[in-house]
Amino acid sequence: MTDRSVRETLLDPAGVTEDQLATVLGAAFGPGTDGGDCYFQLICQEGWSLEDGLVKSASFNIERGVGIRVIAGEQTGFAYSDEITLPAMLEAGRTARSIARTGQSGSVAVRPGSSRDVPLYLPEDPLGSLDEGRKIELLKHVDQVARDADPRVTQVMCSLAGVREMILVLNAEGELVTDVRPLVRLNVQVLVEQGGRRESGSAGGGGRSGYLYFTEDDRAGAYAREAVRQALVNLEAVDAPAGTMKVVLGPGWPGVLLHEAIGHGLEGDFNRKGTSAFAGRIGERVAAPGITIVDDGTLPGRRGSLNVDDEGTVTQQTVLIEDGMLRGYMQDRLNGRLSGARSTGNGRRESYAHLPMPRMTNTYMLPGSHDPGEILASVDHGLYAVNFGGGQVDITSGKFVFSASEAYLIENGRITHPVKGATLIGNGPDVLTRVAMIGNDLELDTGVGTCGKEGQGVPVGVGQPTLRIDAMTVGGTRAA
């Protein structure tokens, strides 16, 4: 039924019929081309924000359009239109087609593509999942919980965002696939002051569901308390150490390590082009024994999950590293075909106005056997980092960073005092060979990640158990 409702929303208002779709396919594809697709999309999104205890601004945005991509060999022609009408589609199709050397029209029939038997999320509309009054109440609740948590809280900024995205992919072979993707997110940032010192803390989460996700088990209130806790820890933080030392990473969001150190370097486009430090290394050891890392777009309700990717391929779990050995790359259709591999369901794009490319979904490491307490107790001197901001990687040199926002010194196996945020830097192809202990406490993040690549942002997830890495460079200011 999803299929029909998506067609009704995306195509029917513009009077676009199945015959017309076949006409567009015929004009854009056919002889001299090696595939491509028409990507129809409708995005409705809203954002409500609170500061000074008041919900004083909110916005609603709607974007609708179609992007047409024509592939000939390794070449891609691309054009898009904000109008979903036959003339606009034919124009975009012909423009994209200019990449191919011949101009003959073909004939392609439209038929259903493959779909997932049990959907990972419901095709609901998050924007309508709470009425306006209750959205405001939810934000005020977060504000209240944060302010009640500690008198040193001076400012609370909170935002609630919901997206309803509908896509329809019609590929050059005539396969038609649809998906309706809800996405919600709640973020809270607090400022605290004590004796003239100011610090901040932030927390949040979300996933592919409606806003009731935040009221279940009072998740919203938990984010508020977590943000305050972090800010208060930072009020006590001393200068971070500088230099190479043992680092213990907490479970969950610190998995951004895997996203930067390993994930990007294993995307199919960089490997086909030979620009990744991991290119040509399938079958080689790139991590310590016991380390298995997967990219998994099939986790129900998670921020990085998709029923089908943006090329209409059903998503899957892809093993990237198995017991320390490099097993596979993440592929979209173009890079898969050119590398003699299949798409792994990782073809993603920010919108109809952007080209798809291989992107991560939810990337995480499977758990090991060690108790987290045992891991901390094994370190004489090092850093315990439990929360991070973002990260970045140079996929060619393999150098990557991620910045801690909550960290502690470990001395003689015990956590002593909090230290200021610091950037950690390492080398992707060898950092995981220095993993000495893997915790039994795998956690996924709360649903806050957005990955940027070539200017396109897409929602992703990360996760890992507690890890001990025996040499990482910590970018503090104090001699270690």
Partner: protein, 452 residues
């Protein structure tokens, strides 16, 4: 496949965009809004990427966008759409009004003081369409990349050379009588190349960007510079952890000074989330430093006759004699702080860092540093604007006696921005004009470098 006519042609006339602004303003008023502001924009563009001598992508862009803010007294709501049909425009206006009925009143919200808005403005020479059909763009991209490959056999791979051109038009209007718009263009050449030796691969890039195609670098220059930069990074190694002087190359100095504009932004000030809280009048930089804003510079990348609220932009010194002269404000933040808007709704316009005297070039700065770290790349987000704590991944070169000794990678540089700004020892005259914030190299007396 010559589609140049379409590349150059906008689908809307200025009059038709102005009409849409007016229509949305009128409709929101008829829904009960007491004041409304709307902006409509439209752009067309072409981007071509060539990799290893073959076309990789040919992208045609054509965008349109309408956004409005509706005020019901002191409550506000905003909405936007890419659908320009009359029905969609009405629905978008109604959505903003519906939201404004739910949000809570804020005594500081509202349109800017009409006295602050621009009434007339000079032609800033921002519109220079480039008659560059796709074949020509492909040829230029091929020339860029080929020149890079020709530099050295160790340059053996490419992420591609890109030629792009974009023309945009936007109109802003409000219900207190402001209506204004203009056309602008931006064209770019860029190239990212990989060099390889026994020690591994390195990637680097170069680019040229300008409003006028005549202001672009020669394609060969961009390719050769990308190759030179990638080659120079070969053989990079870590440093031992130490304190030393750090010289930020101009592109990196831009990001260092970008933290200043974020910290003195009105939002960070009224939220008390800035390490430069209430710092106007403070000596933040050495007395010989000055940072000027020149919004009306003809043809420059950051120029604008009015800001995104229609407030007139004007020349000013943000830093004079090293002292912070004011903040970066829109009218909302200004009202909250009891100040006047500085015409910075939407950001700053051509901030330029000056030294006095300003006669030292890059070589002179290297010589002044003597022994220290030259930073040519920074990665990660490790800047905490609330505390000023700064810790970022870096790559560059170790310099001894004013000469580059070897490439450096996998290190971090750290400090606190207040100390870093106060300890600036020199600013070069090698000003990078490729952005909205323009600065030469910046030499900082001492920072912590973390490595082995």
């Amino acid at each position: 496949m010559d589609r140049s006519a379409e590349v150059q042609a906008l689908s809307h006339t200025p009059e038709s965009l102005e009409e849409r602004v007016q229509m949305v303003l009128d409709h929101a008023r008829s829904c009960g809004a007491s004041a409304v502001q709307a902006v409509v924009s439209h752009s067309v563009g072409l981007g071509v990427t060539v990799r290893k001598g073959e076309v990789e992508t040919l992208e045609y862009e054509r965008d349109q966008h309408l956004a409005l803010v509706a005020y019901f007294g002191q409550s506000r709501g905003s909405a936007s759409t890419t659908d320009f049909s009359p029905t969609a425009l009405r629905q978008t206006a109604e959505a903003a009004c519906r939201i404004a009925r739910h949000t809570e009143p804020d005594p500081h919200s509202g349109l800017p003081d009409p006295e602050e808005q621009a009434r007339d403005w000079p032609d800033l020479a921002l519109d220079h369409p480039w008659d560059c059909p796709s074949e020509q763009a492909i040829e230029l991209a091929k020339r860029i990349e080929a020149a890079g490959f020709a530099v050295d056999p160790r340059v053996d791979n490419s992420e591609g050379a890109t030629v792009s051109t974009r023309r945009a038009m936007s109109f802003l209007g409000d219900t207190q009588g402001f209506m204004g718009g203009y056309l602008s263009t931006r064209h770019s050449l860029s190239c990212a190349l990989l060099a390889r030796d026994a020690g591994g691969m390195q990637r680097d890039y170069d680019y040229s960007t300008a409003r006028d195609p005549l202001g672009l670098a020669e394609p060969e220059t961009v390719g050769r510079e990308a190759a030179r930069r990638a080659l120079q990074r070969l053989g990079g190694r870590k440093l031992g952890t130490r304190q030393c002087p750090v010289l930020f190359a101009p592109e990196m100095a831009r990001s260092l000074m970008g933290s200043l504009t974020r910290a003195v932004n009105g939002g960070a000030q009224y939220r008390r989330s800035s390490f430069l809280l209430d710092a106007a009048g403070e000596q933040l930089f050495p007395t010989w430093m000055r940072v000027e804003e020149t919004p009306l510079l003809p043809g420059a990348l950051g120029s604008a006759p009015f800001d995104s609220e229609g407030v007139r932009t004007r020349d000013r010194a943000l830093i004079d004699g090293g002292v912070l002269q004011g903040y970066v404000l829109d009218s909302y933040a200004a009202r909250r702080l009891g100040l006047r808007t500085t015409g910075n709704a939407g950001g700053t316009h051509n901030l330029t860092v000056h030294a006095s005297p300003g006669d030292r070039d890059f070589r002179a700065l290297l010589a002044e540093m003597g022994t220290g770290l030259l930073v040519t790349e920074l990665i990660g987000q490790g800047v905490n604007l609330v505390t000023g704590d700064y810790s970022r991944g870096a790559a560059g070169f170790w310099v001894e006696q004013g000469e580059i000794a070897h490439a450096v990678e996998e290190i971090t540089i750290a400090g606190n921005l207040r100390d870093i700004y106060r300890n600036i020892a020199a600013v070069g005259n090698d000003i990078d004009l490729r952005g909205n914030l323009r600065t030469g190299s910046i030499l900082v007396e001492a920072m912590t470098v973390a490595g082995d």
